[in-house]
């Protein structure tokens, strides 16, 4: 394993030390693994909090700041945070108006956040939870733990964070986040496996001419293995899966994210974006806003995901609202 680390067991804490050094406008509790907006709790404002296993950077710590998250709780690599940690962050961002938890739909995340919400409830803190489950590679049936939360999380966090900034109630903020989730679909393809510091070797072996289709963001194998194909065909397969699962009527507007999984360079992501945009255009979808880059990653995995979120005027307005975080910044 080749990584810029010192000790596999210390990666998350040492990276948090770097976040603390790089962003003096964030409050970072390295021991408890909590990243908080320096001005939290913001009087009168609903706290917006997210978290999950580490290894998906900039998600979530990179989205803490004005107009997005009030706090992030990173767990160990690919391991959801623990209830104590979530509770402490919930307390730190609660200004009395309640706290919205944005939770990606994984068994561990759901259980740990739920325990934390119960503990917070015991203390009289109103917690509303938004469950993100946008990955249409997984069928939402009794045969699975439900769809995974992936790329749409960025859009949910942006929109919920922007609405919270306007003084909306916890219920309203959670409802907006949930609406974004319902209107979003994602699909991912990997060219290589990733290597967790703990495992020290790639999660799976992929021959030089094969890809994993329908992967998540935790290094697990995908739904199926296929032959490597040109970017154009991979983009087509991806867009088909997305529009197949959540059809968009012609004339719809969308926010589109072409996201790298950590090891794919920007030149390839832009090339893919060109393909995806052309396909959506053909399907009559108007891409109103886009993001191209590494936003929800899977350590060093070479791969990409596409997220399409049907956007109405309110979502677009909240998307455009000012944001100042390490990884997303505009209007301020």
């Amino acid at each position: 394993m080749k990584k810029f680390i010192n000790d596999p067991a210390a990666v998350v804490r040492e990276a948090l030390a770097g976040v603390a050094a790089a962003h003096p406008d964030l409050r970072v509790d390295i021991e408890q693994q909590i990243v908080v907006r320096a001005d939290a709790p913001v009087a009168g404002k609903v706290g917006v909090l997210s978290g999950g296993g580490s290894g998906h950077e900039p998600l979530h710590g990179g989205f803490v700041g004005l107009g997005m998250l009030d706090a992030a709780v990173p767990g160990e690599v690919f391991t959801s945070p623990v209830p104590d940690q979530i509770l402490a962050a919930t307390q730190a961002v609660n200004a009395g108006a309640g706290v919205v938890h944005i939770v990606k739909n994984y068994t561990g995340d759901v259980m740990n956040f739920q325990m934390a919400a119960e503990l917070a409830g015991d203390e009289g803190i109103e917690v509303q939870t938004v469950l993100v489950d946008d990955d249409v590679a997984v069928e939402d049936s009794t045969w699975t733990a439900g769809r995974r939360g992936t790329g749409a999380t960025v859009i949910v966090e942006k929109v919920a964070g922007a609405l919270a900034e306007t003084g909306a109630s916890a219920a309203a903020v959670a409802a907006a986040g949930s609406r974004v989730n319902e209107q979003s679909a994602s699909f991912a393809v990997a060219l290589t496996a990733c290597t967790t510091p703990a495992a020290g070797k790639p999660g799976f072996e992929l021959p030089d001419d094969e890809i994993e289709v329908g992967v998540g963001i935790h290094g697990e194998p995908g739904r199926r293995r296929e032959k490597l194909r040109p970017a154009r065909e991979i983009a087509a397969m991806t867009v088909e899966a997305i529009l197949g699962a959540k059809p968009l009527s012609a004339g719809s507007e969308a926010i589109v994210l072409v996201n790298g999984l950590g090891g794919t360079p920007l030149i390839e992501l832009y090339l893919l974006y060109g393909e995806v945009a052309a396909l959506l255009d053909k399907a009559g979808v108007r891409v109103a806003r886009n993001l191209v880059g590494n936003y929800v990653t899977s350590l060093d995995m070479a791969g990409m995901s596409v997220t399409v979120c049907r956007a109405d005027p309110e979502i677009l307005r909240l998307w455009d609202a000012p944001v100042r975080t390490p990884a997303l910044r505009w209007g301020v």
């Binding site: 067991a9 296993g53 767990g75 160990e76 690599v77 690919f78 391991t79 959801s80 945070p81 623990v82 209830p83 104590d84 994984y106 068994t107 561990g108 259980m111 740990n112 325990m115 590679a137 997984v138 069928e139 009794t142 045969w143 699975t144 733990a145 995974r148 967790t196 703990a198 495992a199 999660g203 799976f204 998540g216 935790h218 290094g219 697990e220 194998p221 739904r223 199926r224």
Partner: protein, 206 residues
């Protein structure tokens, strides 16, 4: 079982998951996210440390403390599930006596299983902890009359069998379920750690 034996059990589990951490992580790498071993190692190491700094008066106290520590140190799916299980086991034990017999422990283990199933909603055959835990409890209860040693041995053997049987299952809960039919052919990491826990119980009681 008395407080000292309960402590030994947790220490033995900690040693086992530490020794088998790489193996558990490998299993989790095939159908999950390669963290199960390191998660349990971190959690049970913390539990042992927490018990060292505490003075539990009953077996129940030992196990509740263990569960609470797992909840706050492990994360992922295993943290809440095993944490809740140990807390439920501990709470189901008599609070007024420093020792418990095999029947009492059997009933408590059953309460732990119920708590796991309530939290995780897994049923037998879903390729989870439940597939080792369920047979283990049943075997424990059945052998309880023969005493703790025999019951623990029977439970460990049943857990091993349940664990091995997960290989052929198609996962329907947890991360492995995302793989659909590709989950078949791999032994479940959680069922494997459950076996280690019952194996540790058999070891310390024999």
């Amino acid at each position: 079982m008395d407080v000292a034996l309960a402590r030994s059990w947790i220490i033995e589990v900690s040693a086992a998951v530490t020794e088998q951490a790489d193996y558990l992580t490998q299993l989790d790498s095939a159908i999950g996210d390669a963290d199960h071993g390191v998660n349990l190692k971190r959690g049970f190491t913390a539990a042992v440390a927490a018990l060292e700094g505490a003075d539990p008066k009953t077996v129940g106290d030992v196990l509740v403390k263990t569960g609470t520590t797992l909840v706050s140190k492990v994360g992922g799916a295993a943290g809440p599930l095993y944490g809740t299980a140990f807390r439920a086991i501990g709470k189901a034990l008599p609070a007024d006596s420093s020792t418990v017999d095999a029947a009492e422990l059997g009933a408590a283990l059953r309460a732990g299983l119920a708590a796991v199933q309530k939290l995780g909603a897994a049923v037998p055959g879903d390729k989870t902890i439940v597939d080792a835990y369920g047979p283990a409890v049943a075997a424990f209860e059945k052998a309880a009359d023969d005493g703790l040693t025999a019951a623990a041995r029977a439970a460990a053997d049943a857990a091993a069998e349940g664990m091995r049987a997960t290989t052929e299952l198609h996962a329907r809960k947890g991360r492995a379920s995302y793989l659909g039919p590709r989950s078949v052919g791999h032994q479940d990491p959680g069922a494997t750690s459950t076996w280690l826990i019952f194996q540790a119980l058999a070891d310390v009681t024999s």
